[in-house]
Symmetry: C2
Subunit: 410 residues, 2 copies
């Protein structure tokens, strides 16, 4: 604590009046105020959750995943689950709704907020769209959104509605149904349609647009969408840094440009590896195929420093509300990169400890004080869920920016 | 003629029934059909017009300009006049309305369509905006549009409403009032405001957005504007090729991308020089300063070939409706480049003859035929104004795609 100025947008001061069950002030008692959850979303892609929650892996693997998930739950409060259409519904009409519900429920029960990713994307989309007319593809995409967003309402209330729209209509690696309809509708047109359908299916959900392109293209796209009335709740920025850490300067430059809209910003897919850097001439990261991409001690130290700096820059920025590390573990990480906070054997890297310290100590409320004669304490803490402990009693409350005084009965 | 397929979108077939003043068919008579003007706009920047029409130069210079203008009128039917705010109204409240009206009138009397350029741009804008608040700048810009577009209604019904919006909010060469309000409004926002005000001031005018940036940025900007309901009538594309001719492939690629909107396309500022090519490392063309940039015989031949190919590609494309050569003459050409169709001494370059042949011969109606016993002739010609000559009599008519039969009294 103490960094009040730097993080004032993440904090609130609150006067608590503590009463016993008869309504009498609890005066002159020692109380502890401990944060149990952050308002800020510290997340990770947690795709293995689907296997785990559905218990459809060998027991040894289950134990391994459980250990992994325990380490995840020790630090993070937010998880992204995969809704890639081509995997979610490989056969038309047979979506993996049950499996994904089990995963989302598992996380919800453990107080982890969940985001679904993505509803509309040209990559890993349903192959059976290719047999349809463009009109039928659009209708199938609408139906998919309506079905899945409705099915998961209450369980998943945050969606990456549409992914990588800048390249979507000109994506030419292979033919796919979504690029076809993006050509028809135009970029702003397809964003508008997909957001309208998602909003209709879950009026209270937080809806994101998401892209790896952080150039002026994406700025103008968002500008156009907002002027066209598209209800974007948050701007998603991918930051896969396999080719080297962006550094503070680029980070601040990107934040500056995307702050103009005044909308919340989510770093939706962040990668910082603990391995060698991918050569700069690789244009599509998917083209870089290695039999092994080792995590080394030297690079683990570098990763830890980068994690510390990057998370600090983002946590300091008033519009950033979420950071998702794309790979929580090197086990099964995208492109085989050593991009996780855990090694393949589940042992934590230095970056894990660094991030845990930031989230659980440096940016965490942990106050011990004594109530005055009226039973009140004044304290300042980080926004989110808290426990107040007094003797062997405990009461939970939310620290927010709303009222400056609250009354708690313990 | 004869290239019916290639240019069918530029042509119409028409049956003319020719009657005498008593209403009797003129049978078995020889008639000539001659095109007097193109529907297609073949234009040039014709800024010297202001001096000429206002007769405020020495008589020798007047004679020189008149000779230049005669050569312009021999080939072109469309002129762009300068409305750069900083020159049009260098002192607040003293616009050069009278001078520009004289120029526009001079052109109108000679059947030359006129476009005003530009209403809103961050370069050469009024310096006195710098003393104002952003709210006042926006109001001044609105007032400027309302005043000038209203003043010139009927005389100028085509406007480059806003110029170079992709760079506008991030233009950092020097502070200026328009960049300031572009930062506030955002790109789509400022386009929307300027178009709304222009449309309000002249509901029937043809309104263009214009840019030198032909990248995806501009595509997304237009996409966003259209989705936001901005009434863009035509897409303006600059093509200053001081650093070398784009070539057929790039031209067709640009046409393909900007055709998706289905809107008319104007090549608003075209430059093909008859001198050496500007080095590729120059990023802002304005940074290239030479004491002399000569027109040479070798490069004049190259220019002529480029003009022939480029105009042919554009004339062939159904959505292109106008091409404006930015410099008609080397005399006073932008950047001192030998970018004109005339040399500094007013002598025509090969490109002039090539273009004149295309416009006045190859793409021109010139039919001699004989009326049948009912006084009718069937002919095919290029869209635009025509004369029908029969003996010593003449009647003018418009060749359009509307009715297939018209009746003319001679």
């Amino acid at each position: 604590m103490g960094q009040t100025n730097e993080f004032s947008h993440r904090m609130a001061a609150k006067t608590i009046k503590l009463l016993d069950s008869s309504g009498n002030p609890i005066a002159g008692k020692k109380v502890e105020l401990k944060q149990t959850n952050h308002k800020f979303l510290f997340g990770a892609g947690i795709f293995d959750m689907v296997e785990l929650a559905n218990k459809n892996v060998p027991s040894e693997r289950m134990a391994f995943l459980e250990e992994q998930l325990d380490k995840f739950l020790d630090v993070f409060n937010f998880g992204t689950l995969p809704f890639y259409w081509g995997r979610f519904e490989p056969e038309k009409g047979k979506p993996q709704t049950k499996e994904l519900k089990a995963a989302a429920n598992w996380l919800k029960e453990r107080n982890v907020a969940v985001k679904g990713h993505p509803l509309c994307w040209h990559t890993v989309t349903a192959p059976w769209l290719l047999d349809m007319s463009n009109e039928e593809i659009l209708q199938a995409q609408f139906n998919r959104i309506e079905r899945d967003v409705s099915d998961f309402k209450g369980l998943i209330d945050m969606w990456d509605v549409i992914n990588e729209v800048v390249i979507m209509p000109i994506f030419d690696k292979y033919d796919n149904g979504i690029t076809r309809i993006a050509k028809d509708l135009g970029r702003v047109g397809i964003v508008k349609e997909m957001f309208a359908k998602t909003r209709e299916s879950n009026p209270d959900a937080t809806l994101l647009i998401n892209d790896f392109n952080t150039s002026i293209n994406y700025e103008i796209l968002i500008d156009g969408c907002l002027q066209a009335g598209v209800p974007i709740d948050a701007i998603g920025i991918q930051s896969h840094q396999h080719q080297g850490y962006w550094g503070r300067e680029k980070l601040e430059e990107v934040l500056e440009r995307f702050s103009h809209f005044g909308l919340p910003i989510h770093f939706t897919e962040n990668t910082l590896t603990s391995g060698h850097v991918m050569p700069p001439q690789i244009e599509d990261l998917n083209d870089y195929q290695l039999s092994e991409w080792p995590s080394t001690q030297e690079f683990e130290e570098r990763q830890a420093m980068e994690v510390e700096e990057m998370y600090s820059v983002l946590f300091k920025h008033p519009l950033v509300e979420a950071i998702t590390a794309w790979s929580f573990s090197d086990d099964g990480a995208w492109l085989g990169a050593p991009a996780g906070f855990l090694r393949k054997d589940n042992s934590p890297k230095p970056a894990y400890h660094v991030l845990k310290k930031l989230i659980k100590q440096d940016w965490n409320t942990n106050v011990t004080t004594t109530t005055d004669e009226n039973g009140t304490v004044l304290f300042e803490g980080f926004l989110g869920e808290h426990d107040l402990l007094c003797g062997d009693k405990k009461v939970s409350f939310q620290l927010d920016k709303e009222a400056s005084t609250i009354q708690l009965v313990i």
